[in-house]
Symmetry: C2
Subunit: 404 residues, 2 copies
Amino acid sequence: MQIRVGKTNSHKNFFFKCNHCNYSYETPMPIFISNVLPEILDVEKANIERSFKNGNIKFYESQGINGLLFRKSVGKIESGTMVCFGDKIEIIRGFPKIRRTLMLEPSLKIHFDQEVAVEEKMNGYNVRIALINNRIIAFTRGGYVCPYTTKKAPEIMDMDEFFNDHPELVICGEMVGTENPYVTHHYREIGNLGFRIFDLREKSSNNAMSIPDKIKILEFYGLPGVKLFEIMDIKDAPKKIFDLVFKLGKDNREGVVIKDPSMEIDPLKYTSSQAHNGELQYAFTYPFDFGRSFFFSRVIREGFQAYELNESEDEIRHRAHMIGESILYPMIHTIKHVANDNLASENIIIHVDNMNEAEDFVRYLRDLGVVATVHSFEDGKAIIRRVHQSTTDRISNFLRGGLY
Amino acid sequence: MQIRVGKTNSHKNFFFKCNHCNYSYETPMPIFISNVLPEILDVEKANIERSFKNGNIKFYESQGINGLLFRKSVGKIESGTMVCFGDKIEIIRGFPKIRRTLMLEPSLKIHFDQEVAVEEKMNGYNVRIALINNRIIAFTRGGYVCPYTTKKAPEIMDMDEFFNDHPELVICGEMVGTENPYVTHHYREIGNLGFRIFDLREKSSNNAMSIPDKIKILEFYGLPGVKLFEIMDIKDAPKKIFDLVFKLGKDNREGVVIKDPSMEIDPLKYTSSQAHNGELQYAFTYPFDFGRSFFFSRVIREGFQAYELNESEDEIRHRAHMIGESILYPMIHTIKHVANDNLASENIIIHVDNMNEAEDFVRYLRDLGVVATVHSFEDGKAIIRRVHQSTTDRISNFLRGGLY
């Protein structure tokens, strides 16, 4: 059965039209959840119903897009998946989690075939861009429509022709640069704001295009891909990747994603010591918001990297000292900052046309649970102040003598 | 109503005798849980019933002691509480959690009155010893009867006269030394195995004796107390405690417990940088068993201690480097150890009379979920090998190329 779905005035009912006999009827939401969704997603009905009941599949409406958002994975359907309603159902699958190798050599050997394609992993935020109801829409990793990225991505790159020819594809990439609302990192070739595409995937199936095909298409439409360093023989890969990641680290860059050129095997990621320490520094600038969850995996990565590289005593000592400094220095800095009656906050710069647009964006952030206010607007730039509330509250409390 | 309880042959029924009219009757367990327990503990019936249903209050039988064990707190009743059945009900309350100050000066000011008693906090394992059915029984923090401590404590100190005169008191103290099954730490004045008493508390109420009274009683019965450094004026306390903790740290000792001399206000604890690093070192020797849960609070303590002591750049750098080394060195050591086909394990030395007793103890550890085997027995000493399974398994898996 193929179906077309139209929302009726009542949010909870759906209008179905059978493509076969053209018979149309209205159906209440529970029937859609229980009977239609399992079929179009190919997931067991009981799993879908349980997730819906638990609130892990929830209604979502924003920026003119409405549908169902998967807050957690259900069967093979990734968290961050959006089932968008409109003229037809569009399924934008969540971006699959890329697993990490701690020991490059054995992982590559057992995971991949003959060759691997090594691309740069950039430090920004993961975005999926797709055509929904003839509009180009950008989704965050969690599946939310990001109004800022939806507005800025088309200014950075022209996707009209691409989506005209390939309405069934999803552009998966990283928004990067120093002036974006989520993850800021300076790249000399990017500057304020840029976009780098790493995958082209199909709606519904989430199948990814092979690396050579992806590169051809991106070149054809003049779209910016992430840097592909090399497609290399698996035998040379560990040594080459260590050298690469070492150089990237020296340049304060994050690391690599290692891919099967045909994209039939899941990619893996591997990152530089500098990236681990950079993340520790950020986490321990706001220790009670991020410290606990960020910490463990970063130091584990350092341990295995030092071991696999068979590092000398001096090298290990240096690595240990960097870990300690990345944890303690920012923490003490923030304690002093809060002791001087300040909030633990960070400034986010975004490009907007006016104050109203900045305030709209802050409202969107608040809906996501982020505490933020517009600090200033001038010359098309708004400074948004993001407050890290747990860090502010708990440090203030301890400074006043509160107990742990 | 006062009641006496005797267990009948059927484990699930209880024999009650009313102290008032001497009428006796048998009552099934659900009635005991729902009607008797809430009354004798002064906790709401619904809370008790919920905890019992969730398995947080469970039946326990070991070493001839049987009763109900509180795995989590219920109302004011602490986790680790044992309600022991026998000729009468004996309630051994859980040892109350001692909260920690991160900022000594403001905490002392708002928490205590005129004076504080500062005692040494020792690095061992918390034990409560009480008279149950005329036997001296030692309970672990979690409320389990520890066969080893039950046997060894009376060898270390003679409690017969004390318990003869004070059957309603509970001895709360720390088992310390290098040859014990739980936490080993070298103290030059202790050696292999010793016991230090920090509190005398009443059964049922958990009220603690004042510091002067406790000291008098311990002296009278020749029982070993923890070191009381001084009862000091609150105004001098922060400076004096910093000096003390600094000296203790230099001597690789843990820190202090700060008490209201009348024991009407809850005590607080404060520990040395060396203690924090020592715990990090242990945790990261077995990172996948302890690293995640140990880490955060230890580095937070370091941050606030450095801040409150207004440390110089050099002092902070040293503290940071110690943190990093305490994390990375033991982790790399264990990775290498497991890479050489070893288990991540530690040897525990206990004093037993024969192999059978050692094997009994290992069975007891296994019941607690600890993976252990008897490695050897010679001259009254058994070496127990405790295996840290998650660390062994996960490191082996990553070394073979498993993904994170």
